[in-house]
């Protein structure tokens, strides 16, 4: 099968400092790949570079989604092409109710793709159903986005947005951080409900625990800015038992 996400020899610098150093990774359509690695290996840099965050300078290499050169696009254009990033630390947006924010985003994506706007009743029906599936209190959606939300509420809000803006490529950056075991289960069920043949997922995590809930097709180890090992789900268990030390040394 033709890969949906294809990253080749990606080099990324932040503030002039090289972080990713020739990263190559393919994720075929319908597959879930986990990227694991020690702190400082470049996991979040990978997610931000794919999403187009200003300040993450690509100095070499390529990244395509369904054959489209992502790196040539603005962040909002990438989103409309189907890139969704679930943030490790979701940003608070004072003064903008979550419902307003999500509807603005959905309509912006529809407009960018030449699709019709969603009507207000259809939008409300859809968002009510998705919020209920994530066991979210609907009143929370009337509050300013993420302002005063707990860590678990913020992560549910990320997954709700992912469900409302169904992407081709979902990047989950440390979605397990800050979650208790119940929230982890609910969020994981939300993610698993979205697995499908037309969607690829890149799950970035430091710990194996998340992968008990979101079972990956492949596991990659990111160390020193490169993928240094790849394998099946068993690789995650080996990492949990042995740690990252040997990869850090090998990459050096």
């Amino acid at each position: 099968m033709k890969p949906m996400l294809s990253i080749k020899n990606l080099h990324v610098s932040v503030a002039g400092k090289p972080i990713l150093d020739g990263l190559t990774l393919d994720i075929p359509a319908g597959e879930v790949h986990a990227v694991m690695g020690p702190n400082g290996a470049g996991k979040s840099t990978l997610s931000y570079a794919l999403a187009g965050r200003p300040g993450y300078e690509v100095t070499a290499g390529s990244a395509t989604l369904d054959g489209v050169d992502l790196l040539a696009l603005e962040p909002d254009e990438r989103a409309s092409k189907g890139v969704f990033l679930s943030f490790q630390y979701p940003t608070e947006i004072p003064g903008v109710p979550a419902l307003t924010f999500i509807r603005t985003a959905l309509n912006a994506q529809h407009k960018a793709r030449g699709e019709a706007e969603i009507s207000a009743p259809d939008f409300l029906r859809l968002v009510r159903a998705k919020a209920a599936a994530l066991k979210m209190d609907f009143d929370m959606l009337k509050r300013p986005l993420n302002v005063g939300f707990s860590g678990g509420e913020k992560k549910r809000m990320e997954i709700l947005q992912m469900a409302m803006l169904p992407p081709h490529l979902a990047i989950l950056d440390e979605t397990d951080s800050g979650l208790d075991i119940d929230a982890l289960r609910i969020v994981s069920e939300g993610v698993n409900a979205m697995r499908g043949p037309e969607r690829s997922m890149l799950v970035i995590t430091h710990y194996q625990r998340l992968l008990d809930y979101i079972r990956p097709d492949r596991v990659h180890v990111l160390a020193m800015g490169r993928i240094v090992a790849s394998g099946g789900p068993e690789l995650a268990h080996a990492l949990e038992a042995e740690g990252y030390d040997k990869y850090a040394q090998e990459a050096a």
Binding site: D76, A79, T91, V96, F101, I102, T104, A105, A108
Partner: protein, 317 residues
């Protein structure tokens, strides 16, 4: 020394200049080398009787090529209620001097809106005295002018009287707006609450001078002042001078003053969700100023203010 006196006497040395501490950011003498011919002075008088409720719209307009002084005398008797909207949409040079007197337990909701032209020089000054238990609710909405000053001075008796002095300046191009307020708490048990927000872009300049004085013996005063501005261009400027002078012991006073840019993290977050940059900037800017609009109690006035903001931000972007 005032613009009104200069217009009335033709004496340019009567104009406030940068050498006057209170006018240093809104220099008129350096700006006006000559004064256009004076149109006849105008007088406005509004009287609200005891217990009466009135809604009044005043429009101050001076034509291009003229200068004009308007004096206004506004009296709200005990228990009266006035909803006053002032529109300033002149093109010439104007000074409006208002004397506002609020009786005991009366209420004034004052909205000041300006739509001055790029060439206009506009000063509006209000002297407000409050009776016991009176309520003043004021919101200034301005897009500036060539040079503009909206000034409000309040003599606050304490005595359960309550003042809200809010304002919003949204400035583009080379426009200038100065919101200056001074509140003197003279007696026990009064409240003043102030929230001023501003957005400046291009080469615009916003000025806020806020002074709250709590006189000796004016205990149990509660005073809050906030001024927060977004500067959206390297060449735009905001000058803020918040001052709290407290000569009483038993008071609750707080102030905050911030000047910054749009939150880049919030901007990227919105763009990652598919919202184009210009739309994300407008959304975050509108959210920033929305807090001032939300504080307007009257529904119609609040929605009119919201529409004014949307129009300004749409036009300016």
């Amino acid at each position: 020394m005032s613009l009104a006196r200069a217009i009335e006497t033709g004496d340019l040395t009567a104009l406030p200049s940068r050498r006057d501490e209170d006018w240093r950011w809104t220099d008129l003498r350096g700006l006006l080398r000559t004064l256009p011919p004076a149109a006849p002075a105008k007088l406005e008088r509004i009287v609200v009787n005891p217990g009466e409720t009135r809604v009044v719209d005043l429009c101050f307009r001076v034509a291009a090529g003229y200068s004009q002084v308007t004096r206004g005398d506004i009296q709200v008797a005990d228990g009266g209620h006035l909803a006053l909207t002032e529109d300033y949409d002149g093109e010439g040079v104007s000074d409006t001097e208002l004397t506002i007197s609020l009786g005991a337990n009366s209420r004034l909701e004052r909205i000041v809106k300006t739509h001055s032209s790029d060439d206009a020089v506009c000063v509006s000054r209000a002297e407000v005295t409050l009776g016991a238990g009176a309520v003043l609710r004021q919101t200034v909405l301005t897009s500036g002018a060539r040079r503009q000053r909206i000034e409000t001075r309040v003599t606050h008796p304490g005595a359960g009287a309550s003042v809200r002095l809010d304002g919003l300046y949204l400035l583009a191009d080379k426009r200038h707006a100065d919101i200056t307020t001074a509140v003197t708490h003279a007696g026990v048990g009064g409240t003043t609450d102030q929230l001023i927000k501003g957005v400046v872009r291009d080469q615009a300049r916003g000025v806020f001078q806020g002074r709250i004085v709590v006189s000796p013996g004016a205990d149990q005063t509660e005073a809050r002042m906030g001024h927060h501005a977004l500067v959206l261009s390297d060449r735009a400027e905001v000058d803020g001078k918040p001052e709290l002078e407290i000569y009483a012991d038993d008071v609750v006073c707080a102030h905050g003053n911030t000047v910054g840019a749009l939150d880049e993290d919030a901007l990227f977050y919105a763009r990652q969700r598919g919202i184009p940059e210009y739309e994300a900037r407008a959304m975050l800017t509108e959210a920033f100023v929305g807090e001032v609009i939300d504080r307007i109690e009257h529904d119609d006035a609040r929605e009119a203010a919201r529409a004014w903001v949307a129009g300004q931000l749409g036009r300016a972007s």
